[in-house]
């Protein structure tokens, strides 16, 4: 709306209520005020709006609010507070009973318990993995021991065949390691050291 041209009633009419409420931008406020100064019809409309507002305010029945706050608070008291609030209250109570040091101790204990609860499944998995590794190692060791025994028998048979003897007396098996076998034959003044293939 150009400020220097006198606005027509049709342009001004939709702005009258907003003018009355003081919600127009400054330049439109000025324009409407200028128009009203010279337009009895728009001034009458504006007065009508003001009267409607006054009537609405005068006859608005304000309900009695006695006991309203108490009624709302009674309803709120029936609500279960959120966990955050309940924990806060509990710590507040503990602090009241035992002082700050105890409250900190309680907090640390609670944190430790929570940590244990949270980390237990992971720990169990880790322990399980360790058990599994041990079982595999034990099985491998047994298997190697079996292999060693079988190799020893085979070696013994071969040696006997070469010497033309019915059998070789192995006087002493000296190693407790299943991967290494040591035979001593004092009569022949011989010591045989056997290593499993995995050792090479």
């Amino acid at each position: 709306m150009a400020p220097n041209i006198m606005a027509q009633c049709d342009d001004i009419a939709p702005l009258l209520g907003t003018f009355e409420d003081g919600e127009l931008p400054p330049h439109e406020m000025q324009e409407v005020a200028r128009h009203l100064a010279s337009c009895a019809s728009c001034e009458e409309t504006l007065a009508g709006y003001s009267n409607v507002g006054r009537l609405l305010r005068e006859t608005a029945s304000a309900p009695t609010l006695d006991g309203f706050v108490m009624a709302v608070q009674a309803r709120i008291d029936q609500l279960r507070p959120p966990l955050r609030v309940r924990m806060g209250r509990w710590f507040e109570t503990q602090r009241g009973h035992f002082g700050n040091g105890m409250a900190v101790a309680f907090a640390m204990a609670a944190a430790a318990i929570l940590t244990v609860i949270i980390t237990t499944p992971f720990a169990r998995n880790m322990v399980g993995a360790g058990d599994h590794a041990a079982m595999v190692a034990m099985r491998d060791a047994r298997s190697l021991a079996r292999d060693a025994k079988s190799s020893a028998k085979s070696f013994e048979a071969t040696a006997s065949a070469m010497r033309g003897e019915p059998s070789t007396i192995i006087s002493k098996l000296e190693s407790s390691n299943p991967d290494v076998a040591v035979w001593s034959e004092p009569s022949q003044d011989t010591t045989v050291i056997w290593l499993s293939e995995q050792q090479h």
Binding site: Y49, V52, L56, T59, P63, I76, L79, E92
Partner: protein, 192 residues
């Protein structure tokens, strides 16, 4: 231990305490805004008894959700929006399942002169109240809510726009329509 709360305590502090579950601090906020919240509900449902019930519900809902309130926005507008939403939902349900009300009887009771003052002025006031109530009933709920929020509750256009969740331009056009309509119906009263 918490500091004692004062009736004129800082709003931000009261909100923070209410967030921590302090119902006494929230009680002060209820005290401050109860009239306006009832007014917002009244503007939408146009029934005193329902408005009171809905306002209570609004405060309970506000307390339950106060943790989500961000202090950057205005607490009052947030509260009014909750009230308007609850009242609009209620009105929608009522429209689908209308219930019988004692509204007419109540109006008749209001029209009867009281024992204390059987004055002409009082009767005249009751007549006027009924005329205005009937005139408001002719408006759509949207127009009625806008005009009552502005004229009775004194909300700004931005607040009305926020509460009724419509653009500011829509608020302006609703107010313009409602004012013209009421001015026409209440011409004789408005000219007194």
């Amino acid at each position: 231990m918490n500091k004692p709360i004062r009736q004129d305590g800082d709003e931000a502090e009261l909100i923070e305490r209410a967030k921590g579950g302090d119902t006494k601090a929230f009680g002060i906020l209820i005290e401050r805004y109860q009239r306006r919240v009832v007014g917002v509900a009244m503007a939408v449902v146009h029934d005193q008894e329902d408005a009171l019930e809905l306002a209570q519900e609004s405060f309970v809902r506000a307390f339950e959700n106060i943790g989500k309130f961000e202090s950057r926005s205005s607490f009052s507008t947030w509260l009014y929006r909750i009230a308007a939403n609850i009242a609009i939902d209620f009105r929608r349900r009522e429209r689908r399942h209308p219930t019988m009300r004692g509204e007419e009887a109540e109006t008749e009771i209001q029209r009867l002169p009281s024992n204390l003052g059987n004055s002409f002025k009082e009767t005249q006031r009751s007549e006027m109240a009924k005329r205005i109530k009937d005139a408001l009933a002719q408006l759509t709920p949207e127009h009625r809510a806008a005009i009552l929020l502005r004229e009775v509750e004194g909300l700004s256009y931005d607040e009305i726009s926020d509460v009724l969740q419509c653009p500011r331009g829509t608020v302006m056009s609703r107010l313009h329509y409602a004012r013209n309509h009421l001015r026409e119906i209440l011409k004789d009263l408005a000219e007194d």
